[in-house]
Symmetry: C2
Subunit: 438 residues, 2 copies
């Protein structure tokens, strides 16, 4: 159903979902249901090894459901992003309703699944959806594992600078001089970009596919560098991995090896910064130039996510250059709103998500594990202290963005091993309780 | 906000709500919040004396919120019912979001209400909304009193004939020969309406404002009579009252005084049936003729409710003439759907309400009292057995439709007095618990 919440638009669309049932015990064995987030579901499926690792132990079926407007689940095909009319059904509420209806469909159509307890699993925005699915449809899922889900990064629930201060901390701890080098790089760029020769030097030093033409382009360069540091913080995994980009183990430590001396002259400093970002964008060594229009895997649906950020998923961020290594930038809601209106013809409603999902007042819910990595900037908006016996926080001090959802790895730190063990333990409890109540 | 769940329609509308705060204790005294149903809120306000009776004891503020598309809360003014585009925002989900947003608005704008615990109160469809508000927005209301709320009269959760069999039982118990007289009346009408003379006789005997012209009109007559019996069952109160119509105490007993002999000839039987319905429509004695187009107070919004029934509030009913006193009529979803499409251009989605609100699987929620009257046909779809310590059923054997929500009355049966006492007790518990957790 394209619109679950109104009856004027009665069209339906095809939602993609993936099923793996080789370990499933028929007759009501559990189902682990991945609540797909803003990207291609096959990519999430291939990057959520935890579910594959536990399927046998839990005799569980795995289902990965794609989020509407991402991957191949486009309500209006190629027209889905054409205007605000077609985008109108891209909301978390519609996505949750999709999941609830899909789960009921699976239960009635798969032989032996009628009373299968279903556990929602998700990471990042998908983790929010997992938690919210349990909150809003507790009759559909018996529990949820919400990994690295910043459900509180809304309104004024957390300081807007929290996110970037964790990013900064990751760099500060990964090598001396590292965060200071980055902090100093902004003004170095500003100085160089004030002349044409400087712009040319920057373009060639950073091996940019499209050379910088003016100050605006220099702002794009800084923005792109900022996103690079942020992404590195998210994927600062303890082993070689390919999530947003192919990267070595502990990539921030690798990057910081180039950024030891913050007091260098502008050009020497920025040459080092290039070495650092080149490691992120060109670990394979195959790139002939660096493309500022992309900072991460194409499997993420940037367009759709930007629309969501422009409507209900308003996450205020800011930097001050003191508690973080970025150029100072206040959170400017009005400018953001204007930009959203210009792009999509919509206005964000920043308080709606709090009215809908309760903000910090969620104690009457149950059976949700919130896991967060201490290295993950998103942990600043996550639930990092248990709220009750059944709303449990699991903190993984040396984990980046939903490390716990990744496959077991010999280089996993103890903390993520323990976190996964605890998560499995809760899942078993929920399954057991559901079984008893039948 | 006209559309809480989409961002393309960004218009707002004025929602009416009534506030009574003479007994309210500032600094976080509780708020009893009436979740308005399908009618003018002033009428519900004047017919929910229970809230007025307990305000002082609880030091509570009373708020009565009007449901969108009813009374004066019309999202598009006079255009609100013009077509399916304008009607698109008439759903229970939008209404619940209105309530949640309104409560947060009140909490932030009324001095001293910041941490006021709010309890949802409602009857009938309003009772469903009260329960659903607690289920979906437990961060907004600490508990709910759902009076005579048939939250299970959907899908196949209850037999479709349950409703009419309770109506029948009310008549059966209120006088010998009563339900049999009504059961026999249908064929008497069928026989008479086969001739023009008979139609004329029926028109004058029933003092109809518009005379019957043909068999179709005779069907309207039967439908109107059926609705009359149904309405009598709902308002079978133990004292003189004016809810749907001005009526004497125990009106079914009064009506049944005319319906003692089911074996009379067609005309004598129907003359008695006229006396019976005349008591319902003309208790004041002022009506010069009876108007079949209206069976109850104008304060109810029939048009809006029919649209809701045609979309998500699909409540299947049927009669068999054996377990009930009505003409046999199967539940015919397809015909119903066609009629909805003809009238509004929409198709009902009968399973959505179950996916949304959980059907019978609601045990993970808390703090809801479901009250039901044994005489009330809607009790057939209500929660009449407690589900848990905090999902409590209160049954009032000699109560009709939400008798407990009415003002205290010297003629109240013991059972409703006890029910109210229990309801107050639970409210106090919820308030106390909310206070302690602060």
């Amino acid at each position: 159903q394209i619109d679950h919440f109104g009856f004027d638009e009665n069209l339906t669309f095809q939602q993609r979902y993936l099923v793996a049932d080789q370990h499933w015990k028929k007759n009501n064995g559990p189902i682990l249901f991945y609540t797909g987030n803003e990207g291609d579901i096959t990519w999430f499926c291939n990057n959520t090894g935890f579910m594959w690792d536990v399927a046998e132990e839990l005799n569980a079926m795995l289902v990965f459901a794609e989020h509407r407007y991402y991957g191949e689940s486009l309500p209006f095909g190629n027209e889905s992003f054409s205007d605000s009319k077609h985008l109108n059904y891209l909301t978390s509420e519609q996505a949750l309703a999709d999941f609830a209806v899909l789960i009921e469909y699976l239960r009635t159509t798969i032989a032996g699944a009628r009373y299968s307890p279903v556990i929602a699993v998700g990471g990042s925005y998908g983790g929010m959806l997992a938690a919210w699915l349990r909150m809003k449809y507790p009759h559909v899922v018996v529990g949820a594992l919400a990994a690295s889900a910043p459900i509180w990064y809304f309104g004024d629930l957390v300081p807007c600078g929290a996110y970037y201060s964790i990013v900064t901390n990751d760099f500060k701890m990964s090598g001396s001089g590292c965060s200071e080098s980055i902090r100093n790089s902004w003004n170095a760029i500003n100085r160089l970009s004030s002349t044409d020769a400087g712009l040319q030097w920057l373009s060639s030093t950073f091996r940019l596919c499209s050379p910088l033409q003016n100050l605006q382009d220099a702002a794009i360069l800084k923005n792109w560098l900022g996103e690079t540091w942020v992404n590195l913080a998210m994927v600062n995994y303890p082993y070689k991995a390919d999530f947003l980009q192919p990267l070595p183990a502990w990539p921030i430590q690798e990057v910081c090896k180039f950024l030891k001396d913050p007091s260098l002259s502008d050009k020497l400093l920025l040459q080092n910064v290039f070495q650092a970002v080149n490691l992120y964008y060109n670990y394979s060594g195959e790139a002939s130039c660096l493309d500022m229009s992309e900072t991460a895997t194409k499997n993420l649906g940037q367009l759709g996510w930007y629309y969501q950020a422009c409507t209900e998923m308003v996450m205020p961020t800011c930097t001050d250059g003191v508690n973080d290594m970025f150029e100072p930038q206040k959170w400017d809601f009005d400018a953001f709103s204007e930009e959203c209106y210009r792009l999509w013809g919509v206005r964000p409603r920043p308080s709606w998500i709090l009215s809908m999902y309760g903000g910090k007042n969620i104690s009457s819910h149950s059976n949700i594990v919130f896991s967060n990595g201490g290295l993950d900037p998103w942990s600043s908006g996550g639930v990092t202290q248990s709220i009750s016996d059944s709303l449990v926080a699991v903190v993984i001090p040396d984990g980046a963005h939903h490390l716990d959802l990744r496959s077991r790895n010999p280089l996993d730190p103890k903390s993520v091993q323990q976190a996964r063990a605890l998560e499995i333990c809760y899942m078993k409890q929920w399954i057991e309780k559901a079984r008893r109540s039948h």
